[in-house]
């Protein structure tokens, strides 16, 4: 497939936003039961606002993928069948819940909802809904790709898992850098999870790479035109110039380029950020943590590019030779 930068930015940015929100919520939940030192509502409000910013930027990026952005509202119509529709519904829901989470924390709204006498019940109740919506959003985004069964590189449960793990890893990396400056007591918690999630993401991403390397294409030129013969070659694709079909479904890069992008993202997303975050955590150096997130996000752009480019669409069987 031909990777579109609008979708690359959309998926990576909302991943960071979702991960950051999960990081904030989990640390807040821990503080309630006194596992972590409590923070003021301002910290969660600011963090939530930044998460909203990431999600908003992703939303803006997504509009560049549409031919008719002014009709984007229609995209919520087919939630019964289309994962894209579901994403379009869940993304604003996530943003709305995070917005409420920000407001409740920012205004310090407290109520003893469950008669437990603990603080933060309102914020955490909204937060739980936000977490559920966030997880559903990860599922929707991943399933948009995993649901296309003949794009064999994508049609695997590893796809939504990867979206979830890479999103949360980058979100926790950001949370580590963010908390290093605003709430240093929480930094080791976020940094530790950032490393854990990054390692988990590495395992799943490598599993996907191994799986894809061993894939055998189910469609062949024989099944594409229905001629059972060992040797079938295209002589003409029916046009001398290009078309949508030749531009949209092939990245147009060499095998060596693909391979180098793979190694770039494998280095930038996993070992380098882990080393930087680890060092930042030990040295208590916010700059190292920030660099860890920066490198990881840059790597994720390469990762997403590779994810799209690697998918081999069977329609390409019909467009192999100009003529």
């Amino acid at each position: 497939m031909h990777p579109a930068f609008s979708v690359i930015f959309l998926t990576t940015l909302i991943g960071v936003g979702q991960g950051l929100f999960l990081a904030l919520f989990s640390s807040q939940a821990y503080t309630v039961v006194n596992v972590l030192p409590a923070q003021g509502g301002d910290y969660y409000a600011l963090g939530g606002a930044i998460a909203l910013g990431f999600l908003g930027l992703g939303l803006v990026a997504s509009f560049f993928h549409l031919g008719h952005p002014e009709r984007a509202w229609r995209a919520a119509a087919m939630w019964r069948t289309s994962w894209l529709s579901r994403e379009v519904i869940v993304l604003p829901a996530v943003m709305g819940l995070i917005f409420l989470y920000v407001m409740v924390n920012g205004l310090g709204l407290e109520m003893d909802l469950y008669g437990l006498g603990l603080p933060g019940q309102v914020a955490l109740s909204i937060g739980v809904l936000g977490v559920i919506a966030t997880l559903v959003l990860f599922l929707c985004t991943g399933m948009i790709y995993a649901a296309i069964k003949f794009l064999q590189e994508w049609a695997t449960p590893l796809t939504p898992f990867n979206y979830f793990l890479l999103g949360t890893a980058s979100g926790f990396s950001f949370a580590a850098a963010f908390s290093a400056r605003t709430a240093p007591e929480l930094m080791p918690f976020h940094a530790g999870w950032a490393i854990t999630l990054t390692v988990a993401a590495l395992v799943f991403r490598v599993a996907a790479l191994i799986r894809n390397a061993r894939l055998k294409a189910r469609s062949t030129v024989q099944s594409a035109i229905g001629v059972r013969h060992n040797k079938v070659q295209q002589r003409s694709m029916g046009m001398m110039g290009g078309s949508y079909n030749t531009r949209e479904y092939f990245h147009g890069r060499t095998l060596a380029f693909m391979k180098s992008v793979k190694w770039i993202f494998l280095v930038l997303v996993f070992p380098v950020p882990v080393a930087l975050i680890w060092a930042g955590m030990l040295e208590d150096a916010p700059a190292l943590l920030a660099a860890g997130f920066g490198v990881q996000y840059l790597g994720l752009l390469f990762e997403r590019w590779f994810f799209f480019a690697q998918a081999n669409h069977p329609q390409n069987l019909y467009y192999q030779v100009v003529g």
Partner: protein, 241 residues
């Protein structure tokens, strides 16, 4: 339930592209407005087409065969492009099984084209909506056209009648008969999309001549045997006798 479709006879198609040009002509001047064409006479022409004729070579030289292969939307019975559409712009008509795009609802997200394994959908770069073969839906129901010409433009224009058009669910229709009697098949059956369009296979014509057919059985004068062995020194005169 009716399922209109094309049946394309690969044994007859000569790859003249008449269906391509007539399709483009009919649909570019039809109700839906022009089909995008950029730089049509320049160096890198590009544009939106509903129908393409591709050419494949089968076999190894010198035993090769050329197959001209027209391809348009197959109007799948289980069309994968329809459920993925987030707006419902892509739909399959209950009444006749034609898969269509509502250009006024399409947001141009291209998801449907990703979900089509056949590459039958093309994005109109000018109108920014997804387009595809409509089976000339504006033609086949037009009562102002004589009844025998209410067929898709490609079917009407095909000089060798390689294209048949009709209801593949009606067992007595011309297309069903052709599929049954000529071994009509579907493309990429492995994906379970159940394309409504079918293809009729190329039939191999072989000349079967046995040895005894070359020699006259009733040959009292043994006319074939009067050739003499030719030596290396033989000249042309030896042959002319």
């Amino acid at each position: 339930m009716t399922q209109l479709a094309l049946v394309i006879d690969l044994n007859v198609c000569v790859g003249c592209h008449a269906c391509v040009t007539s399709c483009k002509q009919w649909n570019t001047s039809g109700q839906a407005g022009p089909l995008f064409d950029d730089n049509p006479y320049g160096k890198d022409p590009t544009g939106t087409f509903f129908n393409r004729v591709q050419t494949f070579e089968v076999g190894e030289f010198p035993c090769t065969e050329t197959i001209h292969f027209p391809k348009s939307c197959l109007h799948c019975e289980d069309a994968p492009c329809v459920p993925v559409c987030p707006t419902g712009a892509s739909y399959k008509r209950q009444s006749d099984g034609i898969v269509l795009v509502d250009y006024d609802k399409c947001i141009g997200c291209k998801y449907c084209s990703w979900a089509c394994p056949y590459g039958a959908r093309e994005f109109d770069e000018q109108q920014k909506v997804m387009k595809k073969c409509t089976l000339c839906v504006d033609r086949i129901y037009d009562v102002s056209i004589p009844e025998d010409r209410r067929k898709p433009a490609c079917v009407i224009s095909c000089p060798t009648s390689a294209r048949l058009f009709g209801d593949v669910h009606d067992p007595d229709s011309e297309v069903s008969l052709a599929i049954r009697e000529n071994g009509g098949y579907q493309l990429m059956p492995e994906w379970g999309t159940k394309p409504a369009n079918h293809y009729l296979p190329r039939r191999k014509t072989k000349l079967r001549i046995h040895e005894d057919e070359l020699v006259r059985a009733d040959n009292p004068l043994k006319k074939e045997d009067i050739r003499h062995e030719v030596s290396k020194e033989a000249t042309l005169d030896d042959w002319l006798m």
